[in-house]
Symmetry: C2
Subunit: 141 residues, 2 copies
């Protein structure tokens, strides 16, 4: 069980925009060529990033650019842009209320698992696009 490819794809898209902004026109076809998915997927992701205020997309002429500095964009911003804000784990809907375990499981487990998701958010918030851009250019041998 894992998260979808959307966070990595959206991050890839933002990295390409940040890396090539000015140098190339970062159209959905251009971005699709780096990520290796269908341009429509890129346009959907760009739509989510635009809604979240992370990018501006030029209507008609094409191409996207970041609305703010890479140091002010974190993976939590990206995560929130492309993933629903739902519980990390899925609970069985109707446990038996006549059973002491059944009627308490959601409260007991839910609060603890929510704490774990909160930690994940904090971890994501510590990773900036700037850090990733720097790391991309430090190519290994």
């Amino acid at each position: 069980m894992q998260f979808s490819v959307r966070l990595p794809v959206a991050t890839h898209v933002l990295l390409c925009i940040g890396r090539f902004q000015g140098e190339y026109k970062t159209t959905s076809t251009f971005l699709a060529g780096s990520v290796n998915v269908h341009p429509v997927i890129i346009r959907k992701v760009l739509g989510q990033l635009r809604t979240a205020g992370l990018v501006e997309v030029a209507a008609g002429v094409g191409g996207a650019k970041l609305t703010r500095s890479p140091k002010d964009i974190t993976l939590l911003d990206v995560f929130r842009a492309v993933e629903e804000d739902e519980d990390l784990f899925h609970f069985q809907e109707n446990p038996n209320p006549d059973c002491p375990v059944g009627r308490n499981i959601h409260r007991v487990l839910g609060t603890r698992l929510e704490r774990i998701k909160q930690h994940m958010r904090e971890d994501l918030a510590r990773i900036t696009l700037e850090e990733l851009l720097d790391a991309v250019d430090e190519e290994p041998m």
Copy 2:
């Protein structure tokens, strides 16, 4: 996007076994009644928990019991029993190797996201079945 219901269900099952061990015979039907899923689902989960060495299931006669003390079972044990040990996030398989972002994205993002998953494991490892059993019995008003 979220993890399946398996960790919560498996935890619920272990809590019921721990709570009712000795008092009731914890058969798949009994457990299914508390969780409110089909008994076959419970038997599958019990099979995974058995493979992981967390429970023993009595063949023929029926009923399951914990193989060790609730204080020595953590949610990480349960998580490992019921979830594949795969990456938390799914990567696009074939990014463009001719693009500096494409050929580095997996290394750059992968290591950082793996670190987040490692934190999640550490969080899960800190939660014991004993703690949850205690919390279940501290019923709210």
